[in-house]
């Protein structure tokens, strides 16, 4: 697999960036003024990283990570702080390069399409690869419903009132939040509890119909019950999406994921590396590497 350099977000030539996968069809249909009313057959996608190296300027943050992330499974990335797991996560939807000076070497493919190919539009990648962040971050001035469709409308998609209502209800139901908020869709999203706000963010992420969901410590700001609600939701969402979750909570990785990848770094200032990736069951009962054993056992801090 050839190494590729991250394409800058604005290209100097006149070639329009290429949309990826099924969205190309949908975009085309919309530009023709026709409604794309085909039923979308959801297919979670396989993510493949090949010798991915991630840098912040001169700092080498992640070294030579190769892994295959399977569809319809939850893959947990675990490791101590600074080992590069969040940086790696952000490379899957090309958010890494948003940090000034950050760059990527290596290849990340989604169903064999290189997302770092020059012709690929990073915005299109992010539409396919949704992200849920550590702290719930609903738009504070927007209502619950506006929050849900924010991603869709930001993609310049015009929607009828009925269509909007459909998307709001479908997304909130998908995020297990509909019953709790259906009577206050016009109230500010910031008025919800922490757990509800995080589920609102998940609803916002799935409203744009991504195929892959990235979650960066989605429960770290939540109480145990809200955490379990999110974990239940993750278990349900995996039937439709490929899910990658970064978590510091090893019990959460054990409970919520099918596959676990352990990242570590040899020492301060050294790049993070993938040490071991296996079924979560294996990682938490009989890991192969001693470093993994020590980390999951909490033997070394």
């Amino acid at each position: 697999m050839p190494h590729s350099q991250a394409a800058p977000e604005t290209t100097m030539d006149d070639t329009p960036p290429v949309e990826i996968s099924q969205h190309k069809v949908a975009e085309q249909a919309r530009s023709d003024g026709k409604r794309d009313d085909r039923k979308i057959v959801r297919e979670a996608k396989t993510v493949q990283a090949e010798a991915v190296n991630l840098y912040y300027g001169d700092f080498h943050a992640v070294q030579d990570v190769s892994m295959k992330i399977e569809p319809n499974k939850v893959t947990a990335l675990i490791g101590s702080s600074g080992c590069g797991k969040t940086t790696f996560l952000r490379s899957i939807n090309r958010m890494h390069e948003l940090t000034p000076g950050a760059w990527v070497k290596g290849a990340v493919t989604i169903d064999s399409e290189d997302i770092y190919a020059e012709a690929i539009d990073p915005v299109a990648v992010r539409r396919v690869v949704g992200m849920v962040f550590q702290a719930p971050n609903p738009f504070p001035t927007m209502s619950v419903a506006q929050n849900v469709i924010a991603g869709v409308t930001l993609n310049n998609r015009k929607m009828s009132k009925t269509e909007r209502q459909e998307v709001v209800e479908r997304s909130l139901r998908g995020a297990h939040l509909w019953e709790e908020v259906k009577d206050r869709l016009d109230k500010p999203g910031a008025g919800l509890s922490g757990g509800q706000q995080q589920r609102l963010c998940i609803a916002r992420a799935i409203a744009v119909e991504p195929e892959i969901l990235l979650m960066d410590e989605p429960c770290s700001a939540l109480d145990p019950l809200a955490t379990l609600a999110i974990e239940d939701l993750i278990a349900e969402l995996k039937s439709r999406y490929t899910i990658v979750i970064v978590t510091h909570n090893m019990q959460q990785a054990a409970r919520a994921s099918d596959v676990t990848a352990f990242f570590n770094l040899e020492g301060p200032g050294k790049p993070g590396q993938l040490v071991e990736m296996a079924s979560t069951d294996t990682i938490f009962t009989a890991p192969k590497e001693k470093a993994t054993e020590d980390y999951v056992s909490g033997r070394f801090g």
Partner: protein, 232 residues
């Protein structure tokens, strides 16, 4: 790097010592049970039966300790394997204690001067000593995480099985006298108890291999004796 979870590691280590210490109680119980059989010592036999409460108590303590560790410390990986193995180990300890009780309970059934036959008693003694050696060895193998030493228990156990078959043959040869036949049948039951203790020791050896390798495989599959033993 700083070592962490020191308290948990100490707790786990103490729990293991406590469980394996149960094997020492078994060795004592076995020695006394053998002596009571050999000398038809009814009082010593009753002590074996009474002292089994100590082994049962040890079982309850270790069992509770394991539950607490699971609930409070959520061990994983190698630690989890040790905890899971200790649950088996202590169950085998408790069963071995019960076999000693079974042996002791047979002693008073033959009265004060049973028509004993020395060669049969010698075989029982050899079986018992062999079993005692296996009980010690299975504890050492577990504590040292020594798979080779654990697998050697199979070879040792074959000796017990051979002696047990010899006990059976000798018992059949003891003639038609009713009292003598009854005594011989009791010796066969004693032999059976010792043979089971040997099996329990092998089972603990299998737990050692599980802790070290993460794989559970029977050293010998009784239902498929032709299958080669596993390699670790």
């Amino acid at each position: 790097m700083t070592e962490t979870r020191i308290h948990f590691q100490e707790e786990l280590s103490q729990l293991e010592d406590h469980a394996l210490g149960g094997l020492e109680l078994v060795v004592t119980a076995l020695e006394r049970a053998l002596e009571s059989v050999r000398h038809q010592d009814v009082e010593l036999a009753s002590m074996v039966i009474a002292d089994d409460d100590r082994i049962d108590g040890r079982y309850l303590e270790v069992h509770q300790g394991i539950l607490s560790l699971l609930a409070l410390q959520a061990p994983v990986a190698g630690d989890l394997r040790v905890v899971a193995a200790l649950l088996h180990v202590i169950k085998h300890v408790e069963r071995m204690g019960d076999q000693c009780v079974n042996m002791a309970k047979l002693v008073p059934l033959d009265g004060h001067q049973p028509p004993a036959e020395q060669s049969l008693l010698d075989l029982i003694q050899r079986m018992g000593e062999q079993a005692g050696q296996q009980v010690v060895q299975c504890g050492q193998a577990f504590a040292r995480r020594d798979v080779e030493m654990a697998q050697d228990l199979v070879r040792q156990d074959d000796l017990i099985d051979e002696l047990n078959r010899e006990v059976f043959r000798r018992a059949l040869e003891l003639g038609d006298d009713v009292d003598r036949r009854e005594w011989a049948m009791h010796m066969m039951l004693v032999g059976r108890c010792i043979e089971r203790i040997g099996d329990n020791a092998v089972d603990i050896g299998e737990q050692t291999a599980f802790v070290v390798t993460g794989l559970f495989r029977e050293f010998e599959d009784a239902s498929h004796p032709a299958v080669a033993p596993p390699t670790f």
